[in-house]
């Protein structure tokens, strides 16, 4: 244990060096503290998370709820749709073409259109955020179903699994490793979309907090928001991996079989 740590010392060099340099340069007025306040001050200022008056706690919750709602619908609709279209090659290939076109369009571009339709509502925000994660979930689910060993599908047929049993017993668990990867990718896109939409069109949320504090040049608060967004990003990637590995007890075997 100690030796492992001893070998891993370079892990701390980068962050410590950057933060220390930043702190010193800022304190020495080499970089302007108005724009680059020392990290320690940002950390102290992070106390506003728990301060009812600043409203930041509410912004964090608003962003979290939007992210969770979006990913929930993306997974639910994306998996169902993804599995359904694998039933027909025409559906699958056709959908693929459509999604290949839509995928590289940033979801936030649909915000004006959806606000025409729905006004500046939560509904418009979540539907906009949903665009890219939904595409991702469909693509990964289709890939997951395609990756199921053909023989396992023959077992399902030969042993009489049809309808719901085939769907929930074979297709969903068979595609699950790919679906889980899809959820990880979708979480990243959801966070991007929600923050971007909040920056331009919401009355609360971390993105709105970030953007409005920057506009009135309350820079320290902007950094606090950035810090929290970074933490959310870490949770959505590294944190998600830790949870996902526990969720699939057979995953090792599946991955082993694929490599």
């Amino acid at each position: 244990m100690r030796r492992a740590l001893g070998e891993k010392w370079p892990l701390f060099v980068g962050p410590v060096f950057i933060l220390l340099t930043w702190e010193l340069l800022s304190r020495a007025d080499v970089i302007r503290p108005t724009f680059f306040p020392p990290p320690t001050e940002i950390l102290i200022r992070a106390g506003i998370i728990f301060d009812a008056g600043s409203g930041m706690g509410g912004d964090i919750i608003a962003t979290l709820l939007r992210v969770l709602a979006t990913i929930f619908f993306a997974v639910l609709i994306g998996v169902a749709l993804g599995i359904a279209i694998t039933a027909s090659q025409w559906m699958e290939r056709g959908t693929n073409t459509v999604l290949a076109f839509l995928y590289p369009i940033p979801g936030v571009l649909f915000f004006p259109f959806l606000t025409f339709l729905l006004g500046r509502t939560e509904m418009a925000i979540i539907l906009t955020a949903l665009v890219t994660p939904l595409i991702v979930m469909v693509l990964y689910t289709v890939a997951g179903v395609r990756s199921i060993d053909r023989t396992l599908l023959e077992v399902a047929d030969n042993y009489g699994a049809d309808g719901a049993r085939r769907f929930f017993g074979i297709l969903v668990p068979g595609a699950l490793p790919s679906i889980v990867t899809g959820i990880r990718v979708s979480l990243g896109f959801t966070l991007i979309a929600v923050i971007a939409i909040e920056m331009v069109g919401a009355s609360n949320g971390l993105g709105q907090f970030l953007w409005s504090n920057w506009q009135i040049l309350r820079v320290t608060d902007m950094y606090v928001a950035l810090l929290i967004i970074a933490v959310l990003g870490l949770l959505s990637s590294v944190g998600f991996d830790a949870v996902a590995d526990r969720m699939l007890p057979w995953r090792r075997d599946v991955q082993g079989a694929q490599t």
Partner: protein, 263 residues
């Protein structure tokens, strides 16, 4: 062709073509009857359509022409249960759940299905492993779970597609003996594919020799050892002579198949 008992499986002039760029004709003019409780092995060069034949019997493929019939003894009894070459266990189900898979699909209550599963697992010496996941088992154990899964189906016909193909020689010898025991205990009707001629001779009542693609039946060898043979059969000179004889029959076809592949 001898017909001792009622025919359980009847293939009538079956052909199977796979349309596509190459238009493969996998099987042509195959007619075969398998009697109740008979153990029939199919040997033939790689790619001659053995697996295709089994999948036709399982109803996984439709024949391009001809008919496949399976005699039902009870209306609800599954017609076929297949054992696959690469075990084909569901990695996300425990060993017991894998064996319960067929009965559960027929809406058998969980408890009853679990009892059947445990019984079959015990029969194959896997009683302790019901709660394991497949990735925690060795290759031979996985293959036995695959066999237990098929037995739990209690189907009219047991279909085995090179069930021991992926195993090492010792495990394979051991499992051959377990399959022989199974034959003696439950008297199933079996269609068995193998590449190993000695395995076919050791286990079967009849051996079907197939020709290179398009697969046709070239010859059928009747064996008279009866179901109550013992493992010592392998050591007899009769056994060796028969195996050699069958190989002599097959050699040309295997060479032909390789020549086709080389083109």
């Amino acid at each position: 062709m001898s017909v001792q008992a009622k025919a359980k499986v009847r293939l009538n002039d079956v052909a199977k073509k796979f349309p596509g760029q190459e238009n493969v004709t996998a099987l042509e003019g195959v007619s075969l009857e398998v009697a109740e409780s008979e153990f029939v092995s199919i040997v033939g060069p790689s790619g001659c359509g053995k697996s295709t034949l089994l999948r036709l019997v399982a109803g996984l493929y439709e024949p391009s022409s001809g008919t496949v019939e399976i005699e039902s003894s009870k209306p609800d009894r599954p017609k076929t249960a297949m054992v696959f070459q690469e075990h084909a266990l569901f990695p996300w189900l425990s060993v017991r759940e894998n064996v319960m898979f067929g009965p559960r699909n027929r809406n058998m209550p969980k408890k009853e299905a679990a009892e059947i599963a445990d019984e079959q697992l015990a029969r194959l010496g896997l009683a302790r492993f019901g709660d394991f996941f497949p990735h925690q088992l060795s290759g031979g154990m996985k293959q036995r779970v695959g066999i237990a899964r098929a037995l739990a189906q209690d189907a009219e016909v047991l279909l085995m597609d090179e069930p021991l193909g992926a195993l090492d020689a010792q495990t394979r010898t051991l499992l051959q003996e377990q399959i022989l025991e199974l034959r003696q205990q439950t008297k199933p009707t079996v269609l068995y594919i193998t590449h190993a001629i000695d395995e076919a001779v050791f286990l079967s009542d009849r051996i079907v020799l197939m020709s290179a693609r398009p697969g046709r039946i070239r010859d059928i060898v009747q064996l008279d050892f009866g179901p109550d043979r013992s493992p010592e059969l392998r050591g007899t000179s009769e056994f060796a002579a028969l195996s050699q004889d069958i190989w002599n029959h097959l050699r040309d076809e295997v060479q032909l198949a390789m020549a086709v592949d080389d083109r």
